[in-house]
Symmetry: C2
């Protein structure tokens, strides 16, 4: 079992360089020689040594997926598993591998960052769900590491893939408004993440464009977790909305729980719509009307953009925005007109 180029070369009766050329599909090799070498390779079960190759090419074919652990709901929210899956598949398709980094504490953030990026083990990085001011972003920028953010960054030159949160939210809100609702509340997402900001912005704009005044009592803040959705709904009930836009499905699950405990029926007593369309959204009672977000596609696009960046650096900032889709299920109903 040949372990090195040299051995394969001896087997094929050629030089090490020729074998290297064959493996890397270089044009200048005679067809016969090429076949000869391939035979030796197959016969000996030889595999090139990726590390040695990386040392000279300066490429590892590994990209990192970094998830800042600000994200406490990592375990319950299927957003991340789906993202991970999409990214892994896209990587494999292009011959890359995915390295996973979760920054547990901000203490080891620095350390992991150093050990990973600056040690040159990564060709590039995908950053998922970073808070707006995450220092990771500036580190990457400073060090010139190719990276793509999933979710837009306020920093202009950061490459990103995102969904149209503002537009998606407006669709959901439009739906509620068309159903006759006027007193619409919202359980917003984290204000330090663009996803949270944009969905709240969409909420405000939808009201504005329909001439409905914004009532700050109808806005409560969550953090995308189920429990924050439950607490949020409990607070929101005091303002007596007839419908609520919840900024994520997980929070909607919590909201649903709060409503059940309060003895309110959905959608008879109150309408609910949310954002994400995770698998669970169709399994709740009632199934959720929600804005579908193509998480897997986002991940794949992020990877592809990153590989582009790695292979052809230096073009302008890429800021991809994917469209969303309103999935109508059973959590919304017409507002019965009290004063006709």
């Amino acid at each position: 079992m040949a372990r090195t180029l040299e051995e394969v070369a001896r087997l094929a009766g050629v030089s090490r360089s020729t074998v290297s050329r064959v493996i890397n599909d270089h044009p200048n090799v005679r067809a016969e020689t090429r076949e000869l070498v391939w035979e030796a390779i197959r016969g000996s079960g030889y595999r090139p040594h990726a590390v040695a190759r990386s040392l000279v090419t300066k490429r590892t074919q590994i990209v990192g997926m970094v998830i800042p652990e600000v994200v406490t709901n990592l375990f319950t929210d299927p957003f991340f598993p789906i993202l991970l899956r999409g990214a892994t598949e896209a990587c494999n398709e292009h011959g890359y591998q995915l390295m996973l980094s979760l920054f547990s504490s901000s203490a080891d953030r620095q350390e992991i960052y150093q050990g990973l990026v600056r040690n040159a083990y990564l060709d590039g990085v995908i950053v998922a769900s970073a808070a707006v001011e995450d220092p990771l972003i500036s580190d990457l920028l400073r060090d010139g590491v190719p990276f793509v953010s999933v979710g837009r960054s306020p920093i202009e030159r950061v490459h990103s893939v995102d969904v149209d949160s503002v537009g998606g939210t407006q669709m959901a809100m439009g739906h509620l408004i068309r159903l006759g609702h006027r007193r619409i509340g919202t359980i917003a997402g984290r204000p330090d993440m663009t996803a949270g900001q944009d969905r709240l912005e969409g909420y405000r704009r939808a009201l504005g464009s329909h001439g409905i005044a914004v009532d700050e009592d109808l806005i409560v803040e969550g953090d995308f977790t189920e429990s924050s959705g439950m607490a949020g709904m409990q607070r929101l009930l005091r303002a007596e909305p007839s419908a609520v836009f919840v900024a994520s499905d997980m929070m909607a699950v919590g909201a649903l729980r709060a409503l059940r405990q309060a003895g309110l029926r959905v959608p008879e007593d109150i309408s609910l719509t949310s954002f994400d369309d995770i698998p669970m959204a169709s399994a709740t009672e009632p199934p959720l009307t929600t804005v579908r977000q193509p998480i897997g596609r986002m991940a794949a696009l992020a990877v592809e953009t990153l590989l582009d960046l790695i292979e052809a650096p230096g073009s302008g900032p890429r800021r991809i925005v994917l469209p969303t889709e309103l999935v109508i299920r059973e959590s919304c109903s017409k507002k019965e007109v009290v004063n006709p």
Copy 2:
């Protein structure tokens, strides 16, 4: 900004090897020299080049987490995110990195395997939830790659970390039996995974040890997904059990849905107990009485066992079995005695 040992060496006025010794904490370096070198390192912002180092040490400090994609419920079941998180944290704690591999199709299985393990980019591998006959296991065994399986393997010499599924199930069943239930059904897990097998075995043993005959009509097969739990419960209802042991929380969520649709109340009409204690188990209606499985600890132990194996190979097979714990919530109640 020094990029190589050589440059740091020049800066500190010593040789390259001395710098290397300092970085690697070798004893034979004079304290002054050591300090001198550290200063040069800090001053120059030097970071060792991991790839170059790996080429000579034959270690990458990277371990792989391989999840055979037989696992269709990867996205919905929080088992995997929790496992991933546990593994990542343990890795970071020991200065390792985690590379993620999901085998989408069995087609690329081979390819990814080659490109990963045989290319020597991984020091070892953690295999999660492999089916009993997964060819991955035999490949790893054949190639002598250090690896640990999460979940026991039927192959004796495979190192593994698992929970006591049989014992845990017996606890859950004992609880139901103590509550007076005799006609207890089960929605079993995948028969091709040891977790499924063991939980079914626990079910049978519990009945046996209490002198209750096994009624095959009370056993239906699921695959750990929510939808299979729902379908399973629908089938099971025909056999009219007064209680059911469901082999996973996700399936129990499905079962709960089936019961709600059938107009049955839990626990008044039928008692339910399951396995895993994922976060969702406490959020269902009613909250689930379930067997807690320390997923994060399992992952951490798997990593630690693997690192052991990598650093000190050749000891006997390690087969760790962690205890479980019965978490009593509100999904079980006394069987009211119909014929006293």
